[in-house]
Each structure stands twice: as C-alpha cells, then as structure tokens.
Symmetry: C2
Subunit: 153 residues, 2 copies
DNA sequence: TATTGTTATACTCTATAACTATA
DNA sequence: TATAGTTATAGAGTATAACAATA
C-alpha cells in the first residue's frame, strides 16, 4: 500500500494505529496480570511507588495522567488487596502518602516479569534498531508535548 | 540484547510507553470529536463503514478487535443518533448489516479532519522519516501478530 | 447443533463536580 | 479562600454468558 497523502485516509492516521496496537498490547497484558488479581492501571501505580517509596495521591495523578479522584479509587482497591497503605502526613493534616506494603513490594518483580514477557510477545520480532527507534520516538512525543506535566483536574 | 537485561525497569517497557502516549492521543481526540456528539470507538466504526458501504456486525467485530456484543451496543448508540441503520439480510434471517445514514456519511469528513488535526498536534514535530518509521513499525506489529484476525469472542 | 446477533450483568477506567478537612 | 483528598454520579468500553431466531 502506497504511503497516502490523502488526509481523510484513516489508514494513514498514526493515532489510529497507535490506539489499535496499544489496545491489543494492554489487553494481552491485562490477561496476564489478572492471574495475580491486579489490573494494568494498578500495576502502573505500584511501579511508580517502587521507585519513590511513598508518594502523595496528587503526585501520582500528575505522573499517571489521571485525576485525583481516579487515583483515590485505584488506591482503595489496592488497599483492599493489602498491597498498599495510606498514611496521614503528620506535618499537613490534609496530606496523605501512599506506599507499598511488603506484600505489594514483593509482587512487583512478578508483575515486571509479566511485562517483560508481554513486551517480548509483541516486539521481539522487531529488530533491535526498530525497537530502539520506537522507544525513542515515543519518549520524544512525551517530551515535546510535555505529557508528564498536564493539568488533568 | 541490552534493553531486556534490565528486566524490571519499567521505563524500558515499550508496552508502557505505547499505552501512555496512546492514551493521551486518544483522550485529546475524544475531546475533539465529542463536539460532534460521538466517541472515538464510534468514529472508528463509522470509518470502517465508509469504505465498505455495509457490513455485518460480526465483520466489524473482527476488524475492530471487539466482541459482537460490544459492536451491538456501539451500533445502538449510533442508530439512536441517526448516524447508522440496521438492515435485515433478506437471504439469511439471522444476519444483519450496518450502514451509514446520509447524515452519518456527511459527518465522516468532519471527523477525519479532526483526526488529521490531532495527528498534527502530536506527531508534527517528528521528522517525516520518524513518522514513516513509526507507522511502518506499528503496521509490522499488526501483521506479525495477526492482530486483525483474532478470535475475540 | 451451529451460527448470528442481541441482551443481561458486571467491572474497570475515566471525568466532573460536590464535599470534607485543613491551611 | 485555597489546597489535598475523597466521594458521588455518570457514562464509555469491555468481557462473559445467557438468550432468541434461524440455518
């Protein structure tokens, strides 16, 4: 198929292909992690906390591109599963911090292994140059568009 | 391969970045098309029909990677908006076909223009080589994984 | 019995907006 | 008043499974 310059040709829309591939990759990953009783969004939150020890819900909302309300309910579910704890900030009575329980921390490597397996399943047939280019391009979009610092609320 | 040796490093997971960028691109597009009263999934369905005149729900389910039940409800909403019609197949009493109404057909170019604008917003700062490589890589993943012909149900 | 499609049910994800408590 | 967080409500999207009609 020739690279079309036709504006209304859906097959030329990068956004369309991105969504199509991403949905499949995420759905496949969701099926893998559900064995451990967690969802993809829950995994992303847990992974953020592995690096940061403890984070305020509002920080997580920024990093994950979600609203504070969404983080609140995501946290509720993880707390119900004993993977997360909410701790009140002694300095500021309004503030809370979220951190992993030992059980939560122990689960992260297992989920990370599944993420590796999922990546392999979808991207291993690409050359290492293609993979590197894809990662670089995606990161470039995030940087240029300032996606990590959007006012979501 | 160097990238997979840091197994538990989330920042190296292509699936993670794909999901992150795709979610932002789709959300931005959703905000654009909601002015016209449609969602992203509804747009994709409409666009499929523009090429095919009329399609069976089961065909659409395959092409869009959704279940037949999901297509059924998506179609219900578009019919309620008078953008789509359901027609019984005279040959096979079980079969139905979906096609755009004139109003639906007229709306597609407007939505396509928004898709173009959204693409420009997120991908225009890339070089044309980068854009071409991204599109080629995404399509390659679809081809290799046979994503267009998955048994969803 | 198999197939096509719809409907019922349930759950995740998300947003908007109202609300509470604290600053 | 402003900020941090939660909760209430609503709607999209999805899956599984039950169901109806037809083949």
């Amino acid at each position: 198929m020739p690279s079309s310059s036709t504006a209304s040709d859906l097959t030329s829309h990068l956004g369309y292909w991105l969504r199509y591939v991403s949905n499949h990759v995420s759905q496949a990953f969701a099926r893998k992690v559900e064995v451990h009783g967690v969802t993809v969004a829950e995994w992303v939150l847990m992974r953020q906390l592995l690096d940061s020890e403890a984070l305020a819900p509002s920080r997580l909302a920024e990093r994950m591109g979600m609203t504070r309300g969404a983080i609140s309910r995501l946290a509720d579910r993880l707390i119900a599963k004993s993977l997360l704890v909410r701790v009140a900030d002694p300095q500021d009575g309004r503030a809370q911090t979220l951190s992993l329980t030992p059980a939560g921390r122990a689960l992260v490597p297992e989920l990370a292994a599944l993420a590796d397996a999922n990546d392999a399943e979808f991207f291993d047939h690409l050359t290492s140059k293609e993979r590197a280019a894809l990662l670089r391009t995606l990161r470039e979009i995030v940087d240029q568009r300032g996606l990590g610092s959007m006012p979501i609320d």
